[in-house]
């Protein structure tokens, strides 16, 4: 269980404000929110790239360590001039069969990464995460830049990882993606978790959210045109 207790995070202005959240093990947790709600900041803080001003993040009662998490960021950066194969060889996991996994991803692993398309880079970064094989996996917008086939493939992989006992935290702008995949969805607004919904509440949650956004938009657009 990941327990986030009253964390505050700030970049000049406060982004995460006294946020508390419990993320149960072996489930897929979706974090949803509008642009600028603090999703990526929250993930960076959980991963340990950003230190909270106050509060703590625990994993089974102990301070959460980077050794237990792998993190797929929204934008995937690599080092220029190395091949996909060389990138994957950086991660230590002898059990991970790169060639077998690549039958699924079909990446030209002996080519330098700067020759890859955006989607291929995303797939390569995902292979890196899978090779790390950590108990907690964070995915920030994993479906960005991927075609429909790759999206479905990632969905299947995430569900399989959950079956294997991984705890998965995922963000996406596309609510339908999360409702089809997650066990819980946590709605983030202005740096706080506004509400958490379980699987059986997703339909109502989605409808409520869309209605709220639609009403707001109608009001604003009505004032303009």
């Amino acid at each position: 269980m990941i327990t986030i207790n009253n964390i505050c995070v700030s970049y000049d202005i406060k982004i995460i404000d006294n946020l508390s959240l419990s993320l149960s093990d072996k489930e897929i947790h979706g974090i949803v929110g509008l642009n600028g709600a603090g999703k990526t900041t929250l993930l960076n803080t959980v991963f340990g790239l950003k230190k909270p001003l106050s509060g703590e993040i625990l994993y089974n009662g102990q301070k959460l360590s980077k050794k237990e998490i792998s993190y797929l960021t929204t934008e995937n950066f690599f080092y220029t001039g190395i091949t996909g194969e060389e990138y994957l060889s950086l991660f230590k996991n002898k059990k991970f069969d790169v060639n077998q996994w690549n039958e699924l991803f079909s990446l030209p692993l002996n080519q330098i990464i700067s020759e890859y398309s955006t989607g291929m880079k995303k797939k390569l970064a995902l292979m890196g995460i899978l090779k790390q094989n950590k108990p907690i996996m964070i995915f920030d917008e994993p479906f960005n830049g991927l075609d429909i086939e790759a999206c479905r493939m990632i969905r299947t992989i995430l569900l399989r990882l959950k079956e294997q006992g991984k705890t998965i935290i995922i963000t996406s702008h596309i609510i339908e993606t999360l409702t089809n995949l997650c066990d819980y969805i946590h709605y983030l607004e202005a740096g706080k978790i506004k509400y958490t919904k379980g699987k059986n509440e997703f339909d109502d949650f989605q409808q409520e959210l869309f209605e709220a956004i639609e009403n707001k938009n109608n009001k604003l657009i009505g004032n303009i045109c």
Partner: protein, 312 residues
């Protein structure tokens, strides 16, 4: 169009120089003076060495010219801009050669400036897999990428070094240039995921980087040193001192890289330039490099703490 371009180039140079702070700027100016004095003396005594070295540097700059695509897509006569760059870089060397009436070398250099503008080689964006990459350990991605990007100049230098090793200056000059090329390996910073993939504490991580760089560089220049010692064993101390200087400089650049570490960026050229001037051009100042290396070691420890604190 050329006048604003020259103005822009000078502005870029001044911005870089002044960006390093007053203290380093003072040192920088002192060592630029040393460099100019060195060039002046070399142009009188060994103009052909100076010309050859300048042509090699011009070729390297042209291959890695960062504004190539911009200039090509925006200007019809983009080669004129290349020529301007070459002439700006070589202006002092031309002046020194002409001052000492070294007409032949001056003409050769001028012709090479024209020739270099037509050099259209770009190795950086292409896959170039050689057997060398397979022999480099997986963790040394800087070397894998560096060899891929600079395979040709490294090979030309290395073979020339071996072939010309019966001449006393050749091996030290080749080791000097190989040493400079290695600095470029560490010019780009990796994403933080690469650092964390080592799963090592900060001290062990930095030690690993330094150890692998020293091992790989030593392996690369070992045949050159061997050839030098066969032909000029009485001057063993020249290559010995040079080895210490170059390794010190590599340690400096690695520590500097992680002291100023920002993921997915480049380290300031001005900082590496200082190291180059201190270490390679004026080697008596190598203790300054050692002092700076200690300073940057502690800065690197601070900077890497956020990424590697859980692995200590």
């Amino acid at each position: 169009m050329l006048y604003p371009f020259i103005k822009l180039r000078l502005k870029q140079v001044f911005r870089t120089i002044f960006g390093i702070g007053f203290f380093r700027l003072s040192l920088f100016l002192i060592f630029v003076a040393f460099l100019v004095a060195g060039v002046f003396s070399l142009s009188a005594n060994h103009p052909s060495y100076l010309t050859m070295a300048t042509i090699f540097i011009l070729g390297m700059i042209q291959i890695k010219h960062p504004d190539k695509i911009f200039l090509k897509t925006h200007f019809r006569h983009y080669r004129l801009f290349y020529l301007m760059d070459c002439l700006l870089i070589t202006a002092i060397i031309f002046f020194c050669l002409l001052w000492h009436f070294q007409w032949i070398d001056a003409v050769i250099l001028l012709l090479c400036c024209f020739a270099v503008c037509f050099l259209e080689v770009d190795f950086t964006g292409k896959t170039r897999n050689t057997k060398i990459q397979d022999r480099i350990p997986n963790v040394c991605f800087e070397w894998k990428a560096g060899i891929r990007k600079m395979f040709l100049p490294i090979m030309i230098l290395w073979i020339s070094g071996i072939a010309g090793s019966f001449l006393i200056a050749v091996v030290p000059v080749v080791v000097f240039f190989l040493g400079i090329l290695m600095l470029e390996f560490y010019g780009e910073t990796e994403p933080y995921q690469f650092i964390m993939a080592y799963e090592l504490g900060i001290k062990r991580f930095l030690w690993q980087k330094i150890k692998m760089q020293t091992l790989l560089f030593s392996t690369m220049i070992l045949p050159l040193i061997f050839m030098f010692l066969i032909f000029h064993y009485q001057y063993w101390y020249i290559i010995g001192i040079e080895y210490v200087v170059v390794i010190s400089l590599h340690i400096y650049i690695i520590l500097l890289k992680y002291a100023l570490y920002v993921p997915n960026s480049r380290i300031s050229g001005a900082y590496s330039m200082i190291g180059l001037l201190f270490g390679l051009i004026v080697p008596i100042f190598i203790p300054v490099i050692w002092g700076l290396s200690i300073y940057f070691y502690f800065k690197a420890k601070q900077r890497l703490n956020i990424y590697l604190n859980d692995y200590d």
